[in-house]
C-alpha cells in the first residue's frame, strides 16, 4: 500500500498511525470488503439484484433486454420513482408515509378534473395538484409534531381519506381520458431526448466527479490536509462515464432516453445535493440518527419533520401527475394496488434504512429500476397480477430482512 504523503511530516489528518488509509486500488477494495462484512452494504444488494433479475428474465424471455423494452421500463420507473424519492425523505427520519399511493391518485384526479373537465390551463392544474400534496404533508406534520400521532397511523388514515377524495372527484364516470395530442401525454408516452444530448449528458456525471474531486483535493492540500486519492476519483469518473455511455448507446439502439426519466434523475440529483451538501440535509441525518441530540444542537426538529412530510407528499403528487401522463387518463385505479409498496420497497432495496439516519436519493433510483424490472419481466412472461403482487411482496420482505440484519451487524461492528 502506498501513501502519497510519506515524504514529509504527515498531514494533520494522517498523523495517527492507527488508521489504515485506503488510497490504492487494493486498499479501496479492502475497505469495500470490510464495509460489506460489517453490514454497510450500500448499493451492493441492488447491483446483485439487478444482475440476477436480468439473467433470469432474459433466460426466460430474451425480449426483456431488448432496447425498446428497457426504454419502456425507464418510462415506468419515472412515475413511481419520483414518489420513492419522497419516501426516502421520510424514511431518513425513521418515519413513514403509507398514503403516497392515494396521494398520487388524488393528484391525477385533480389534473383530470381541473384540466380536462373544467378547462383550467394545464400549468395551473399541475400547481394545484402539487399544492394539494404540500398541504396534505403539512397536515401530517401537524398531526405528528403537535398531536404526537405516529406517522404510520396518521398516513394510514390519510390513505383512506385521500382515496375517498379521489373517488369523489372522479364522480360516477370513474375515469377521465387525457387528450392524446397534449404535451403532458406526449411527455409521458413518447417524448425522447435527442441522441446527441443523451451522449452529452452521459459525460456530465464523470466530469463533475473528476472536477469537484480535483478542486476538493487542491483545497485540502492548501489547508494542510491530505489530498484525495486522485487515482480512485479518476477511476470512479471513468467507470461512471463508460457505464452511462454504454447505457445511452444501448437505449439509442431503440427509441432512446425518455425525457420523463431524465426529469426523474434531475429531481434525484437535486435531492441528493440537498441531502449531502446542505445544512438541511445534515439536519435530516441528525434528526433520523438521534432526535434529542439534534434538538440540543439547536436544530429546529419540528421544522425538519415538516419539511420531510411536505416534500414526500408533494413528490407523491408529482408522481401522480407523471402517472396520469403515462396512462393518458385519470382513473379510479390510479395510485391503488402496488404503487404504495413499490415506492417504499424501492427506497429500502436501494439501501435507505427503515430505522432512520441512513439513506440516499440514489437508493430510490436504483431501487425503482429493480422493482420495475421485476414487474416488467413478469408481465413479459404473461403472469397475472396475482403472482406479481406475491413476488413484489416477497422482494419487499427480503429487502427489509437484509436491512435489519445489516443494521444489527453494523451495531456490533461499531458502524452506525
Amino acid at each position: 500500500m502506498t501513501t502519497p504523503d510519506t515524504e514529509t511530516a504527515a498531514t494533520l489528518d494522517r498523523a495517527d498511525t492507527r488508521v489504515r488509509n485506503d488510497d490504492s486500488f487494493a486498499g479501496a477494495w479492502r475497505g469495500f470488503v470490510d464495509r460489506v462484512r460489517s453490514g454497510d452494504l450500500g448499493m451492493l444488494p441492488v447491483m446483485v439484484g439487478l444482475v440476477l433479475i436480468s439473467a433470469v428474465f432474459t433466460a426466460l424471455n430474451p425480449v426483456f433486454l431488448a432496447p425498446n423494452n428497457l426504454v419502456n421500463l425507464l418510462f415506468d420507473c419515472a412515475t413511481v420513482g419520483v414518489i420513492s424519492l419522497g419516501i426516502v425523505c421520510v424514511l431518513m427520519l425513521g418515519e413513514i408515509d403509507l398514503s403516497v399511493g392515494s396521494m398520487s391518485g388524488l393528484a391525477s384526479a385533480i389534473i383530470g378534473v381541473l384540466w380536462v373537465n373544467s378547462g383550467v390551463p394545464l400549468p395551473v392544474a399541475i400547481v394545484a395538484a402539487l399544492a394539494t400534496g404540500a398541504l396534505v404533508g403539512f397536515v401530517y406534520a401537524i398531526f405528528y409534531t403537535r398531536l404526537g400521532m405516529p406517522s404510520f397511523v396518521a398516513t394510514l388514515a390519510g390513505l383512506l381519506a385521500l382515496l375517498g377524495m379521489q373517488l369523489y372527484l372522479l364522480g360516477s364516470t370513474g375515469s377521465i381520458n387525457l387528450p392524446f395530442q397534449s404535451d403532458l401525454v406526449r411527455f409521458g408516452q413518447t417524448m425522447i431526448m435527442p441522441k446527441w444530448l443523451s451522449y452529452l449528458l452521459a459525460l456530465v456525471p464523470g466530469l463533475v466527479v473528476a472536477v469537484t474531486g480535483w478542486r476538493t483535493s487542491q483545497r485540502r492540500v492548501a489547508a494542510g490536509l491530505s489530498p484525495l486519492a486522485m487515482r480512485l476519483v479518476l477511476a470512479k469518473a471513468m467507470v461512471l462515464t463508460i457505464a452511462l455511455g454504454v447505457a445511452a448507446w444501448y437505449l439509442n439502439l431503440g427509441r432512446g432516453l425518455p425525457w420523463m426519466f431524465a426529469l426523474f434523475v434531475l429531481i434525484a440529483v437535486v435531492l441528493n445535493y440537498a441531502l449531502t451538501r446542505t445544512k438541511w440535509g445534515r439536519s435530516m441525518f441528525a434528526v433520523g440518527g438521534n432526535r434529542e441530540a439534534a434538538r440540543r444542537a439547536g436544530i429546529n426538529v419540528k421544522r425538519i419533520y415538516m419539511s420531510a412530510f411536505i416534500l414526500c407528499s408533494t413528490l407523491a403528487a408529482a408522481g401522480g401527475i407523471l402517472g396520469a401522463a403515462r396512462l393518458a387518463s385519470s382513473s379510479q385505479q390510479a395510485g391503488t394496488g402496488d404503487v404504495n409498496l413499490n415506492a417504499i420497497a424501492a427506497a429500502v432495496i436501494g439501501g435507505t434504512s427503515l430505522f432512520g439516519g441512513r439513506g440516499s436519493a440514489w437508493s430510490a433510483v436504483l431501487g425503482i429500476i429493480v422493482i420495475q424490472a421485476i414487474s416488467n419481466g413478469l408481465t413479459l412472461l404473461n403472469l397475472s397480477s396475482s403472482l406479481r403482487y406475491m413476488i413484489t411482496g416477497a422482494v419487499l420482505a427480503i429487502a427489509v430482512i437484509v436491512d435489519s440484519l445489516a443494521r444489527r451487524s453494523r451495531v456490533s461492528h461499531g458502524r452506525a
Binding site: L12, D13, R220, L225, T278, W280, N290
Partner: protein, 269 residues
C-alpha cells in the same frame, strides 16, 4: 472549612441568592457560586442535592425562581438554551447527545455548519483537527462515525463540540461516570487543558477522587443549600461529612465497621 478566594480576577459567573421552587418543593435555596477564569469548580452533593437543577438553570433549561446571575460583571437572564450558548456558557450533558450515524466533523458542527447551502467540508475538517489537536485528543480519524468511537473518545468529541463556539464557561455533568480508568484520566487531562486555556470549568461528579484530582475549589450542596467550599487538600472524611451533613454518617459507620472487622481478624490470627 476554608473558603479560599483563589484569584484576584473578576469572576466570569457570579450567582447570588439563586432559588428554584417546583411547586411546594424548593430544590435550591439561596445558592451562591463564583467561577473565575482558569478555574475548575467541582459541584458535589448527594442525590437530590440540587446539582443538576443548578446546571440546568445555568444552561438556560430552567429559570430560577429568585436570585441574580451575573455574567462578566453584567446581570443576565438565561431564558433558553440558545441564550446561554450565545453568551458563552456551554454544557456537556451526561448522555453526551451525539449522533452515532454522523462522523466526528458533522457532530462537532451540528447546527452550526459552515456555509449552509454548500457545506464547507474542508474548512470544517481543518477546524475539527485543530480543535482536537489543541485538546491533545486522540481521535484516530474525524471521518469515522461516532458509533465506532470508545466512551472516552465520545466524551472528548462532546467536550470539543462545546468548545467550538468559544465559550467562557463550560459545564460538565458527570463526565467520568461511564468511563474506565484510562479514559477517566484522559478526560481529567482534557479538563485541565481546557482550564489552561483560561476557561472557567464547572464539573459535577460523584467520584471524590476525580473531583480532588482536578478541582481548584469544591462546592458542596446539601438539600438545595450551600454547605461549604473546600479545596482539593480537604480530607475525604471532611468532604463526606459536608455532603451527608454529619460527621456520623453511613460512610463513616461503614469505615468504622470495616476497621473493627479487620482488627478482630488480626487479633484472631
Amino acid at each position: 472549612m476554608s473558603p479560599s478566594p483563589p484569584s484576584q480576577t473578576e469572576p466570569i459567573l457570579r450567582l447570588r441568592g439563586i432559588s428554584k421552587n417546583f411547586g411546594a418543593v424548593s430544590a435550591l435555596t439561596d445558592i451562591e457560586l463564583d467561577v473565575h477564569p482558569g478555574e475548575v469548580v467541582a459541584l458535589v452533593g448527594d442525590n437530590g442535592a440540587g446539582k443538576s437543577t443548578l446546571v440546568k438553570i445555568l444552561a438556560g433549561v430552567f429559570q430560577p425562581s429568585a436570585g441574580t446571575i451575573e455574567y462578566l460583571g453584567k446581570q443576565v437572564t438565561l431564558d433558553g438554551p440558545g441564550r446561554a450558548l450565545e453568551l458563552g456558557i456551554a454544557t456537556v450533558f451526561q448522555d453526551l447527545a451525539l449522533c452515532e450515524n454522523l462522523d466526528v466533523v458533522a457532530n462537532l458542527f451540528l447546527g452550526h455548519e459552515l456555509s449552509p447551502f454548500q457545506l464547507d467540508e474542508v474548512s470544517m475538517e481543518l477546524r475539527a483537527w485543530s480543535l482536537l489537536r489543541e485538546l491533545a485528543a486522540r481521535i484516530p480519524s474525524v471521518r469515522q462515525p461516532i458509533a465506532s468511537l470508545s466512551g472516552g473518545q465520545r466524551q472528548t468529541v462532546a467536550i470539543a463540540r462545546s468548545l467550538l463556539l468559544e465559550p467562557k464557561i463550560i459545564m460538565l455533568d458527570e463526565p467520568t461516570a461511564a468511563l474506565g480508568v484510562a479514559q477517566t484520566a484522559e478526560v481529567l487531562n482534557l479538563i485541565e487543558r481546557v482550564r489552561d486555556r483560561g476557561l472557567g470549568v464547572i464539573i459535577i461528579s460523584h467520584n471524590m477522587e476525580d473531583v480532588r484530582a482536578v478541582a481548584d475549589r469544591i462546592v458542596v450542596l446539601r438539600l438545595g443549600r450551600n454547605n461549604g467550599v473546600f479545596t482539593a487538600e480537604t480530607s475525604h472524611q471532611e468532604l463526606v461529612a459536608a455532603i451527608t451533613g454529619a460527621a456520623e454518617n453511613a460512610v463513616t459507620r461503614r469505615q468504622r465497621f470495616r476497621a473493627a472487622q479487620a482488627a478482630t481478624r488480626e487479633a484472631g490470627l
